[in-house]
């Protein structure tokens, strides 16, 4: 139960981070909406990659 909950909370947390960084980059809402999906997927994917690397490192290197 804990793992799905934490994954859900992680995903929820990524959404506003992506959105507000786009607010800084683009002053117009149309550009934010257009770029949001790609930015969100890229951000989540990067974090998942880092997580996997850390898990692998903790399993095999420590």
């Amino acid at each position: 139960m804990d793992t799905p909950l934490h994954i859900a909370l992680f995903l929820i947390g990524t959404l506003p981070i992506t959105l507000f960084t786009l607010f800084v980059v683009h002053a117009d809402d149309a550009s934010v909406i257009a770029e949001y999906p790609r930015r969100a997927v890229s951000f989540v994917g990067s974090l998942v990659l880092i997580g996997v690397v850390m898990l692998l490192a903790s399993r095999f290197l420590i």
């Binding site: 909370l9 947390g13 507000f20 980059v25 683009h26 809402d29």
Partner: protein, 328 residues
């Protein structure tokens, strides 16, 4: 510029150059209002001093100056205070830290006055307003007209109520989204941490980040901050994270509101101005803000073409270029 295009906002250029922005910033950082005094704005300087220092003095009195006793003794060194909102009012913070009794071992437990939490909120608010006064001083040194609206006011409104600065700018959708998302994030943090995040005494640094969301955090703490924690809070870590996240994201919202108003006050199109490439700005030697204000000045680039009032303009005058020497 095409003949049929609507006129650019006319900015009065008759005023002398106010001063060096960095000097105004440093003066304001140590003594709120000193930067404006340096720039010749005596009235504003006095008002800023009274507001920022008055808040700090009131908070100090209410808390008996014991806010930093919330920190563990080993964290009460000079660097321990750098991540507090009070850093925006550096002079008062340094005086406050100097007034602290030296840490003895074993540390003597402090007896907090009843209003210590409110006092801590006021000193923190003083720091936030101090930072806004600093931003205003930087703007004042660069502005081309004293009639141009100050971006710091929009940032201040966004701190008080997330999205309010955007609404003032007519950006209704963004204002509503900013408010809904940030308040939602804060509420989620409060639910997950069972309101234990609403206490500076328990979570000093997380609280500092959370405080950046402004009004919602203040109201939440006044309503629910006194609740006792009677057992383990299972998701406290994630709750604290969400609360801090809301505050930190509000800083981005404040920057967005500030940059928009700055572009408009300089007679630039805020959308194209934000898109300007940094190299285009630096080639002109007129970088004014980390957020942009360089569009329209790079001749021949895509940034030269932008829309103001529905008409496409090219090579628009950069009205603020004469006072855009540096940025903190």
């Amino acid at each position: 510029m095409s003949e049929d295009a609507p006129e650019q906002p006319t900015l009065r250029q008759s005023e002398p150059n106010d001063g060096v922005p960095v000097v105004a910033v440093l003066l304001s950082w140590f003594v709120p209002g000193a930067g404006h005094l340096y720039l010749g704005r005596t009235g504003y300087a006095l008002a800023a001093f009274l507001l920022v220092e008055g808040l700090y003095a009131l908070g100090y009195l209410l808390s008996d100056g014991l806010v930093f006793q919330f920190l563990d003794p080993e964290l009460r060194g000079p660097a321990g205070f750098l991540l507090t909102p009070e850093i925006g009012n550096l002079g008062a913070l340094l005086a406050h830290v100097q007034s602290q009794a030296p840490v003895t071992y074993p540390p003597t437990p402090a007896v907090y006055p009843p209003a210590v939490a409110l006092g801590g909120m006021l000193t923190a608010a003083s720091g936030i307003f101090g930072a806004l006064v600093i931003a205003e001083a930087h703007w004042s040194a660069r502005r081309t007209s004293r009639f141009a609206a100050s971006p710091a006011l929009d940032a201040a409104l966004t701190w008080l109520v997330p999205g309010l600065g955007h609404l003032r700018q007519g950006r209704k959708l963004r204002g509503v989204v900013v408010f809904a998302v940030l308040v939602g994030v804060l509420v989620l943090g409060c639910i997950l941490s069972e309101n234990s995040n609403l206490s500076r005494e328990r979570h000093f640094y997380y609280w500092s980040a959370q405080f950046l969301i402004g009004g919602p955090a203040l109201v939440g703490e006044l309503l629910f901050g006194g609740e006792r924690v009677t057992g383990p809070v299972e998701l406290i870590d994630i709750g604290l994270y969400y609360g801090a996240l809301g505050g930190l994201l509000n800083v981005l919202a404040m920057l967005d509101a500030y940059a928009w108003r700055e572009s408009v006050s300089m007679g630039l199109d805020p959308v194209a101005d934000r898109r300007a490439k940094p190299e285009a700005t630096s080639k002109q030697g007129s970088a004014s803000s980390p957020m942009g204000s360089g569009a329209g000045s790079a001749s021949g680039s895509a940034a030269d073409k932008y829309r103001v009032g529905g008409a496409t303009k090219t090579d628009a005058p950069r009205t603020g270029s004469s006072k855009t020497g540096s940025s903190p």
